[in-house]
Amino acid sequence: AEHLPLTPEALKVSVNSAQQCLHLQWTVHNLPYNQEFKMIFQIQISRTETSNVIWMGNYSTTMKRNETVHWSWESELPLECAAHFVRIRSVVDDARFPEWNFWSSWSSWQEVNVQDSTGQDTLFVFPKDKLVEEGSNITICYISGNIQNDISCYLEGEQIHGEQLDPHVSTFKLENVPFIRKGGTNIYCEEKQRKAISNGTVLFVSKVLEEPKDFSCETRDFKTLICTWDPGANTALDWSKQPSQSYTLFESYSGKKKHCEEKNRCNWQITQDSQEIYNFTLITENYLRKRSVNLLFNLTHRVHPMSPFSVQFENISATSAVMTWKVHSLGDYFTLLCQVELHGEGKMIQHNVSVKANGKYLLNELEPNTEYVAQVHCADDNHFWKWSEWSGRDFTTPEAAPS
């Protein structure tokens, strides 16, 4: 049987200038009812005039009769710089229907003209205040409308030379654009004779958002988890173009999420009923990119005790002293390993003590009439993670009693 043409119809093209994207939607009316077909659509995009095809590609999808298909295309050239034209054709690529395997005719060209500057004695520069990532390749253009005289363009004050796209449009390809300052990279064009005819733009080049490094969490009191990381570069830009990147903690077992106020640390409340194993994802995001890092750990293996306090010395004699100290409680079943350091006579002696509650240690074999410094720090005895900070004091042994 003679098959009806499957030319794509109702082609609509919309524009997102900021993203330099064409959004297409179309349908195919003549497909048989109640059937899904594997189809290939061939899309042609021309610039300035229909004969100047700059892009062609295929898009495969399955669809039904009268279903709307959506597809987008990103232009390397700002869409204001030139008129664009789009057309489509289709073929059924379905083994079940070999008879349909032939290209339809093309749809008619759809024109997209974002910036009509014909006849205007004005200079336009595009894109306007675009935000890009360091290292990107960018194309800038000026449109000179009715202006006949030469136009010069400058990047950060240095003249740049472009290519003529048409009598009124020149394009400038900037490759691997560097970050220069938070206020953006300045691009400016002017007519050589009448300098008042000028225009320009700022290219906001953002540093690349880095994956957080050294992501680590610990608790000092079994009440709060303190997570820290190295954020890398701050990607904030001036002129409200991009705030500093955001950081969010997500814990998968509890399903809870927290927005972190600071750029390199975040506190997470440990509730009574919370689990022992934590699976954190630290997500960082700016306008251009999103990155994340994971951390899986057992809370009891990440205890960083607070420093001991109330260090005292009792029964100080010419050759011995009893050192005592207090520790912040971490629960009845928690054992601390405390390390005592004794400094005196140019020597340092170290002793280890396991401590459940408060600590006590006999310092003996001391020298009479000698000044000593004794300090102590502690760590988790079961799963060593980190020493606490030191606490300590000095003391002096008395003269030996006359023998």
Binding site: K128, E156, G157, I187, G200, T201, D238, W239
Partner: protein, 137 residues
């Protein structure tokens, strides 16, 4: 009618000298950014037409322009300058309307152009007027 501020010539002179150095500092800071050309489209009304020293500097209009710049790009020095201007300002001075240009580069050109003219204006304002020069002579 204008209510003259309570400041005497000496105090006004001191403030203008301070404004001159602050405006230079601010301008140097802005000038550091390359690739921003001056514009012929913006003019800071430095002088009040037909007014005689010492009240010939259009403090109110200058303040409005600098406040506009402050909304575009806040800055500590700018805040200091506006505080000094407030000491000099006539109470019921005329209102100045400013339309801020669109686009970041145009904003930068506006700021550079106005701050350059402000610096020149403060240079002018901190010069002793003829009468003051005679009295001092």
């Amino acid at each position: 009618s204008h209510t003259l501020p309570a400041l005497g010539p000496a105090e006004r002179g001191k403030i203008f000298k301070e404004l001159r150095s602050l405006s230079k500092m601010l301008l140097e800071n802005v000038k550091e950014e390359k690739g921003v050309p001056m514009s012929q489209s913006y003019t800071l009304p430095c002088l009040i037409p037909d007014a005689q020293p010492p009240n010939h500097i259009n403090i109110s209009a200058i303040r409005t322009y600098l406040q506009t710049i402050r909304q575009l790009r806040d800055n500590v020095t700018l805040g200091e300058i506006i505080e000094h201007l407030d000491k000099l300002r006539f109470q019921d001075a005329s209102k100045t309307n400013i339309s801020v240009p669109a686009g970041t580069l145009e904003n930068k050109r506006f700021i550079l152009t106005i701050l350059t003219q402000f610096s020149e204006c403060m240079e002018l304002a901190s010069k002793p007027s003829n009468s003051e020069a005679q009295r001092a002579g």
